[in-house]
């Protein structure tokens, strides 16, 4: 027991001997949470709009007013020359160009259905899809308002009997993306820190030769592994607690569910990343190798976690692959506890999957570690 305690002490000293580690472990993650929490948004705003109004009548001006009024668009220019329109898109000065044709108002009144041309920069397919959605909404609104001025149609509309949806958005009444994304960021940072610290830390000792020195002491290998694991578990839990406190202070996002449940689940998750870290360290000889392995696993766990791209949007084969990813479960768990206050009872499948992964990775790591040393 005492030996393990000394090992833990040694590990902490080793970590904090380099003063910049304190910054890396505790300050940079907070900056990350702050920046990412603000940057990662699935909303599309400030769409750059360039307008060509060939009609210049009250109707066309009303349409433009609705675009400005929606708050999604920013008018970046009014261009009279039709041939110059595409240059705005080329240079990125516009994401969207709208052309209102001549006789727009007259054609509406006559019922001729004038064509409104839209040129959309489709480079970012997702954003352009969303902005087209906005345009459709605006047009819908615009037409509904216009109908009131067209007596024949408006009479018909008035006699309609229709069903209307009355939405209630549970857990997130204002439909903000932050409360959903921020817990995910905490999970990412926990993954990055613990995975890299262990995988590189162990290899470093190998590289410098201190691991062999430890091996010739009477310490048993399980003690060695425990002595490595416990400090990183403590650091991981500390990291997540600081992260949660910071998230509450800065974004005002509190935990609906149980704080201790989060700690418990984090512990399971951290065991899996530590297991992976030690496993990586046993199959690599230099820190650079360890770094690349860790980097490789990190990128793919993040990509396949549902953090950036919802898992439902992936093709079925890849959806199945994501089941092999502990981070996927951890992010779901964090989001559930944070937003819905879900209890352990309803998180059992995810928790069990994580425990399985942690156990497997851990045993693989210990076995490889022993072999390597023995």
């Amino acid at each position: 027991m005492r030996q393990i305690f000394y090992l833990i002490q040694k590990e902490f000293r080793q970590i904090f001997r380099d003063k910049s580690m304190i910054g890396i472990l505790f300050i940079i993650p907070l900056i990350q949470i702050f920046i990412l929490g603000n940057a990662v948004t699935t909303d599309v705003k400030n769409i750059k709009l360039v307008v060509q109004d060939q009609d210049k009548t009250p109707y066309s001006r009303e349409l433009l007013r609705q675009f400005i009024h929606s708050g999604y668009f920013k008018i970046n220019g009014i261009e009279e020359d039709y041939n110059k329109l595409s240059s705005y898109l080329d240079s990125g000065k516009a994401n969207l160009v709208i052309v209102i044709p001549k006789h727009f108002q007259r054609d509406i009144v006559l019922g001729n259905k004038p064509d409104i041309q839209l040129l959309v920069d489709g480079v970012d397919g997702n954003s352009s899809g969303v902005s087209l959605g906005y345009v459709n909404d605006i047009m819908q609104n615009y037409q509904e308002r216009l109908i009131e001025h067209l007596p024949e149609l408006s009479l018909q509309i008035k006699n309609m009997h229709r069903v209307e949806a009355e939405p209630r958005f549970w857990f997130n009444p204002n439909l903000e993306s932050k409360p959903y994304i921020v817990p995910g960021i905490i999970a990412l940072i926990l993954l990055v820190i613990t995975l890299f610290l262990t995988s590189m830390g162990v290899v470093r000792e190998k590289e410098i030769g201190t691991l062999e020195q430890l091996m010739v002491t009477p310490i048993k290998s399980y003690q060695l592994v425990t002595g490595k694991i416990i400090p990183f578990c403590i650091l991981g839990l500390l990291e997540i607690m600081i992260g949660m406190g910071f998230v509450y202070l800065i974004f005002g996002i509190g935990i609906k569910g149980s704080f201790f449940l989060i700690l418990f689940e984090s512990l399971i998750f951290v065991l899996s990343t530590l297991g992976l870290g030690i496993f990586i360290s046993t199959i690599s000889d230099t820190q650079q190798q360890a770094l690349f392995m860790a980097w490789f696993f990190m990128i793919f766990s993040i990509l396949l976690s549902g953090f950036f791209i919802p898992i439902a949007n992936m093709p079925p084969v890849i959806q199945q692959i994501t089941r092999l990813n502990p981070l996927r479960y951890f992010i779901v768990i964090l989001r559930e506890i944070y937003l819905k206050g879900t209890s352990l009872k309803d998180l059992i499948p995810e928790t069990l999957s994580m425990i399985t992964f942690s156990a497997c990775l851990f045993f693989a790591a210990v076995i490889r570690f022993k072999k390597k040393l023995g």
Partner: protein, 368 residues
């Protein structure tokens, strides 16, 4: 400066790289896997949204409305007539994402009132999905309204034309971004590690006392990684072009020239970091935290810069990848030339020189 000395340092660095074949495989393999993942992985419409119905009316009309939802490829009906107390547990178990509550007097109200409300309870934990569900439900309800009344005539025709990426394919958007990410990763991360490794093991001092000039050392260390980066960029572009048919509309030469400029910036970043740290672990974590993550998040690689709050939009201008992304997407997808991009090229050069200046200052300090 003697070329022979530089060449031998370069050779030494190549030997370092090739001796470590595992890292090399990862360096080559990772971008390919990422392309395949991104090329196939993402669709932006969400399907199979699960829902339950509480039908208090149980009339032909209410059943007709429910049919509108079930006969739709977006929604899957999971439960009928659950109790109100079961809604929250079902949301928490993630068995359903929406509950439709049809009031008792639904059919009578349809005849006597102009507007009849139907409650939609949406699990909006993911705001994106919440919005999606609401929009799709509205569309279904709209269709129902048209069925029981008549089709609302349009007054205007909307004629959208999608330029550059007409099918709005995500792979066209991500692949140029991937080039930016990989070039940065290799140039900044690998160089900072490579130089710190020599520091950590003490070999840097050995080289420093030899008659080799520091510039030769750095040049010799950096050039292999430039070639590695370019090789990787080429692989990504080949895959993109031939497997996923991503267009390359502009000039390849311009891409290569500006990619070199971008690599120069990333290398300067790597040098700046390696100048001030002592261990590879710290070098790696610092590079990761200060370049790679911000690049992924703030440069417009995935999330559009324009949607961010103003301070972050300003910060993003100082991130090299922001400019390079505009450049490479512009050249590949829009087919624009240098004239449309010179401002971003200028910004890249400025960032690069500032970083290099800081790096040399710091290096001088550590060496003295």
């Amino acid at each position: 400066m003697k070329t022979r000395r530089i060449v031998s340092i370069i050779t030494k660095e190549y030997i370092h790289i090739f001796r470590d074949w595992r890292s090399l495989i990862i360096i080559i393999l990772m971008p390919i896997l990422m392309i395949i993942l991104y090329g196939y992985a993402i669709t932006f419409d969400i399907k199979n949204l699960t829902f339950a119905v509480i039908d208090d009316a149980k009339t032909p009309e209410s059943r007709e409305l429910i049919r509108g939802f079930t006969e739709n490829r977006f929604f899957v009906l999971k439960y009928m007539d659950i109790k109100r107390g079961e809604i929250e547990p079902l949301f928490k178990k993630r068995f359903i994402q929406m509950v439709i509550v049809i009031p008792k007097d639904f059919s009578e109200s349809l005849i006597s009132n102009r507007v009849t409300k139907v409650q939609l309870l949406v699990d909006a934990a993911d705001s994106n999905v919440g919005t999606f569900i609401y929009n799709y439900s509205n569309r279904v309800i709209q269709l129902y309204n048209e069925k029981i009344n008549f089709k609302t005539p349009g007054i205007v025709n909307l004629k959208p034309r999608i330029l550059y990426n007409p099918d709005m394919k995500s792979v066209n958007f991500f692949v140029p971004g991937l080039v930016a990410l990989i070039l940065l990763l290799i140039s900044a991360l690998l160089t900072s590690i490579a130089i710190t490794r020599e520091k950590e093991t003490g070999t840097l001092e050995q080289i420093l006392v030899s008659p080799v000039h520091p510039i030769e050392i750095i040049g010799g260390k950096v050039i292999p990684y430039i070639t590695l980066g370019l090789l990787n960029g080429t692989i990504i572009l080949l895959f993109a072009r031939f497997l996923f048919k991503v267009p390359i509309n502009g000039s390849l030469f311009l891409i290569a020239a500006l990619a070199l400029l971008y690599i120069f910036v990333a290398l300067s970043f790597g040098l700046m970091i390696s100048a001030s740290v002592k261990t590879q672990l710290v070098a790696m974590l610092e590079t990761l935290m200060s370049t790679v993550l911000p690049t992924i998040m703030l440069s417009g690689l995935i999330f559009p810069v324009a949607s961010m709050p103003l301070p972050l939009r300003i910060i993003s201008k100082a991130i090299p990848a922001t400019h390079f992304l505009i450049i490479i997407r512009g050249i590949m997808l829009k087919g624009v030339g240098f004239w449309e991009l010179w401002q971003h090229a200028a910004a890249l050069s400025a960032i690069g020189f500032v970083l290099l200046f800081i790096a040399t200052k710091r290096f001088k300090m550590t060496l003295e």
